[in-house]
Symmetry: C2
Subunit: 422 residues, 2 copies
């Protein structure tokens, strides 16, 4: 009981401090925010040693708790990685500031001038994995878009995140902005997050990233709006008219180039009319690359080495060198499969038939639909947003990569000369 109420007090203090700071950064000029970004870059550079010492503490705990090699690698900082962070901060300076952009909607018959102007969302609580680079990325993208983030990274990165956030707060103050415009949850007490995601008055948005279980838990318990960054069960559909070399390269790239990310392909759909020719070709390449293939009956009749797929495979985000393969009768069946099993992330068709491509691009519902391209391009940088805070699989507000503009909203602005309603 005591613990709960002190957790709630801590959460409310964080949220209220963020709300107050948000009012200031919301109206800061682009120049002021850019000065703060430059100061943050300088502070990160100056504090390299302290950051690496904090990271060493996290790495020591990771060693004790037997964290996996992949997670330790994500956690580890070195001089090169800090330099990359600093370069990342400076690159945000060059991005256009969406705040204050005015979209006129024209005068009304009664003479009212109506338009919309972009404003920050306000206070954003971001919950993420144990990747210290996300701390800096999320902090500076929120700052540039005039928001006040409350950052909660994985507990394995506790000390690293603390040092990075302190550097960012010092940079904010150097530029005359309130330090509380970037805060971290400096405890691993879960009740603090539980209270933050219900602090409707002072928190405007929660962005949970990471495991599906965590995201579902947050969604179930939040009263603050949530934008989910769920899993990517992405498909590539090789249609009968596809250029077979292109199809093979796209299916290979989408699966193998970086299998552990959400825009990697998980299920390959192949038209039955080209399967006898295409499947041996791509599955041979997969075999050489060590990809485990889990295939339906029709695909196994062509490539008997494949393991049999079960119903669960069509829903699976392997995030690994495993692929599910299914033979379909054409675009109709491919679209049905995607409507049923797709997670709304990324869907790609390989075809030379422009009518079929147009149908697929229209009917497949996902944050990004593609024709003759690898699913790996569904990414804020690759699509031209300049940066991303993640890839939303929620249809509301932002569907797909979220850049600076997606961290803002619009309010109506009305200019009158005394108009009243009759």
């Amino acid at each position: 009981m005591n613990d709960t109420s002190s957790s709630q007090t801590l959460a409310l203090n964080l949220a209220r401090a963020a709300r107050a700071a948000a009012r200031t950064v919301a109206t800061a000029t682009s120049e002021q925010k850019n000065r703060a970004l430059e100061a943050i870059a300088a502070r990160l550079d100056e504090r390299r040693e302290a950051i690496l010492e904090a990271n060493a503490l996290d790495l020591a705990s990771a060693h004790e708790t037997g964290l996996s090699a992949a997670m330790v690698d994500r956690l580890r900082l070195d001089d090169g990685r800090i330099s990359s962070m600093i370069t990342g901060v400076r690159s945000v300076i060059d991005l256009p500031d969406p705040v204050g952009r005015y979209e006129p909607m024209g005068p009304r018959p009664n003479g009212l001038q109506v338009g919309r102007v972009r404003i920050p969302l306000g206070v954003i609580c971001i919950i993420y994995e144990s990747r210290p680079n996300v701390t800096v990325d999320a902090g500076v993208l929120c700052l540039k878009s005039g928001n006040a983030p409350i950052l909660k990274g994985g507990k394995e990165a506790f000390h690293s995140n603390g040092a990075l956030v302190e550097a960012m707060r010092a940079g904010l103050q150097d530029a005359g902005l309130p330090a509380d415009a970037i805060q971290a949850v400096a405890t691993s007490d879960r009740e603090v997050i539980g209270a933050l995601i219900q602090a409707d008055e002072d928190v405007d948005l929660v962005i949970p990233r990471g495991g599906e279980g965590l995201i579902r838990h947050i969604t179930r318990n939040a009263t603050v709006p949530v934008i989910q960054h769920y899993k990517g069960v992405c498909h590539v559909f090789v249609e009968e008219t596809a250029d077979m070399d292109m199809a093979s390269d796209i299916a290979f790239n989408a699966k193998v180039q970086r299998p552990g990310v959400c825009n990697a392909m998980e299920t390959l759909l192949v038209d039955e009319k080209v399967a006898p020719w295409f499947l041996p070709r791509i599955l041979g390449r997969y075999a050489e690359a060590g990809v485990v293939v889990r295939a339906d009956v029709r695909a196994r009749s062509i490539w008997s080495q494949a393991e049999p797929a079960t119903e669960a495979d069509w829903d699976e985000e392997y995030l690994d060198l495993t692929v599910a393969v299914r033979v379909v009768s054409g675009v109709e069946e491919a679209l049905d499969h995607i409507a049923r099993y797709g997670s709304g992330h990324t869907e790609s068709i390989v075809t030379e038939d422009s009518d079929v491509a147009a149908r697929f691009l229209q009917e497949a519902t996902a944050s990004c639909v593609m024709h003759n391209a690898s699913t790996r391009f569904n990414d804020g940088f690759e699509l031209g947003l300049g940066a991303e805070i993640g890839i939303s699989t929620s249809r509301l507000h932002a569907f797909g990569p979220m850049g600076l503009e997606e961290l803002t909203t619009r309010k109506f602005v009305v200019r009158g000369e005394g108009q009243i309603r009759s």
Copy 2:
């Protein structure tokens, strides 16, 4: 236990039928949707008698349960009101269809063509008061924007809504679209709504309208995203340079013209430098109109007839002929008051000083900020959206009046020539 599971079954059946129908209406052409709208108008016209009979059943129950006169008036249908509904349906035919609108983002250095296209949100569950006209408005706006609504109106309008939804479903079928593209929850079983707002797989959005208690309950229990249409604690701030005639007219109109709606003014803020002159003037007009005034100490020192305001008054949405009045030292204190007590709905300043106006329009955070205009103009029709399904006070996705475009989202579309990621 049995009841719960049958409620859940009913909810899932509704949601799945909506999902299936949504796939069809999402790709229907504007012409097809407009034909359905025309057929719906015709069916409503043809079924006037059945609709009025259903409405008579609701009015009889309302009489038995002693519903207030205001609520009975909202519930009552007559030939004129049905004609208005039909006119409303036909007016939606003329509105531009946002679905399929393409926004190019230009080619990427690797040659990928990137853009975004507007798509429907999908399945939308709308929970609203006992106003039969909302049933038709919401149904046809969702249809035009390619969505499949599940409508849940107040139980007092049960029979009326049933008859209206049946007419709309007949119209959909006349035009070759699935009847399930518009469904009603044909039970007052609350568990059905409880299950619908957690049916993440098949429901994309919940829009609750009505009382704050209901909206909070839905928000707390939903796992599906919610766009809240909360209360409007709207302010008019009369600045020292204001044209006093204009200020009086705006403050009067904003409070008195239709006090029972969310964009009516609830609190009047007056600069201390003009209060001695302005307050007697506006408060005299309010007194003549029967408006109860609840004022702070400084205002009461000028207008002693006013009742003393308490802290609770600043948070109050009276929705009635009552107004809270406060004297402030200038725009700074006005903005502080609004930041603290405003509900993010509508804020208006009356001033002749364009710098002060610019500051207010920038710093006041609400779905609509105004200069020299009545708060009553924050409305989808008045702002030029052509129609509205309500006024969102959520910053996410749509802040302010929601028209057809706000019932859609965007997906990325990528066209390549075999690009893969290196």
